[in-house]
């Protein structure tokens, strides 16, 4: 009987500890965040970082390629600069 009471007590204590932990997780921290809302922020950060990265790639300049024919244009000077 004594053992049974001890076991029941232990179960009650364990349940209380679990509830307490859950309450702590859902409790806003110093910045007003719960663990869940922090995860929301993290998820959004992932999205925003991806968008910024994508924009940087999309907006890269191709001027170095487009105007690389300037060397060919300059090459035409060789026709009139020769001694002949």
């Amino acid at each position: 009987m004594k053992k049974l009471l001890l076991l029941a007590g232990a179960v009650v204590l364990l349940a209380a500890a679990c509830n307490s932990q859950r309450a702590t997780n859902n409790q806003p921290n110093q910045t007003g965040q719960t663990a869940e809302t922090s995860k929301v922020d993290e998820a959004v950060s992932v999205l925003n970082a991806s968008v910024d990265n994508e924009d940087a790639i999309n907006l890269e300049s191709d001027d170095d390629v487009i105007y690389s024919d300037q060397t060919v244009i300059n090459g035409y000077d060789g026709v009139s600069n020769a001694t002949y």
Binding site: G32, E36, T37, I57, N58, L59, V65, I66, Y84
Partner: protein
């Protein structure tokens, strides 16, 4: 008999002196000797230079086209890879949230958040794709216009130069002073080269047009991203309320 001997001596002396006299004439004008003798070679040299330049211009045009395509494909691959990586990370976070949600209302709020993000992503993706396509199409047309402008200027330069060397050749045959022929030819070449550069200057305006296109694209892409971030921010605020914190 004596007259014949004197004539032979005089002709011999003249034949020996003639080259020297010719050289003296060239030396006085400062021109290198034998321009008229070389005029055919000069014509070949000029034609060869233009052929070489045309080949290089064609190769460069292809090279530009290939590199732009390569960069476009490379960037699209990078973006797709990044989007996939983001999708995995984002869904992991939402799955964690979903596992920790204690009420049906919270689970519904997470699902609504996910749907809002997905809708915002679709809108942004379409807007950015349209902006990129419009930019590339218009830019490629301008690049072609630039290359055509250079090609036309080069053809004019070549035609004018060929006309100049042909005139020099004809003048040489007509017995004109070869130093004058050469000077005139070189001046014509210089003028033709200046005209080439003036004609090519027209591409500066095309460069400005390409810059303006890039600006329009940048504005559209950035606006699409801002719209996306604003939508996600609003969805996030709503979700936080549902999860019990503002």
């Amino acid at each position: 008999m004596r007259l014949i001997k004197q004539s032979i001596v005089a002709l011999t002396a003249l034949s020996l002196l003639a080259p020297s006299l010719s050289f003296a004439q060239e030396a006085n004008t400062g021109a290198p000797s034998g321009f008229c003798a070389r005029v055919t070679n000069v014509r070949s040299e000029i034609n060869s230079k233009f052929t070489d330049l045309e080949r290089k211009r064609g190769e460069k045009r292809d090279d530009i086209s290939d590199k732009l395509k390569e960069r476009k494909d490379d960037r699209e691959d990078k973006i797709i890879a990044k989007q996939q990586e983001t999708k995995v990370k984002f869904e992991d976070k939402l799955n964690e949230l979903d596992a920790e949600a204690t009420t049906d209302a919270q689970k519904a709020a997470i699902a609504e958040f996910k749907a809002s993000v997905s809708a915002a992503q679709t809108v942004r993706k379409a807007t950015v794709a349209a902006a990129m396509l419009a930019f590339r199409t218009a830019r490629d047309q301008l690049i072609t216009k630039r290359q055509e402008t250079i090609r036309t200027a080069a053809v004019t330069f070549k035609t004018t130069s060929q006309a100049a060397i042909e005139k020099a050749r004809v003048d040489c045959i007509a017995g004109a002073d070869q130093a004058t022929v050469r000077t005139t030819f070189l001046a014509s070449l210089k003028t033709a080269n200046q005209k080439f550069h003036e004609d090519v200057k027209a591409v500066d305006k095309i460069g400005q047009d390409i810059k303006a296109l890039a600006q329009t694209r940048n504005t559209a892409v950035k606006a699409a991203s801002k719209t996306f971030k604003d939508a996600v921010q609003a969805a996030k605020a709503k979700l936080k309320v549902a999860l019990g914190s503002s």
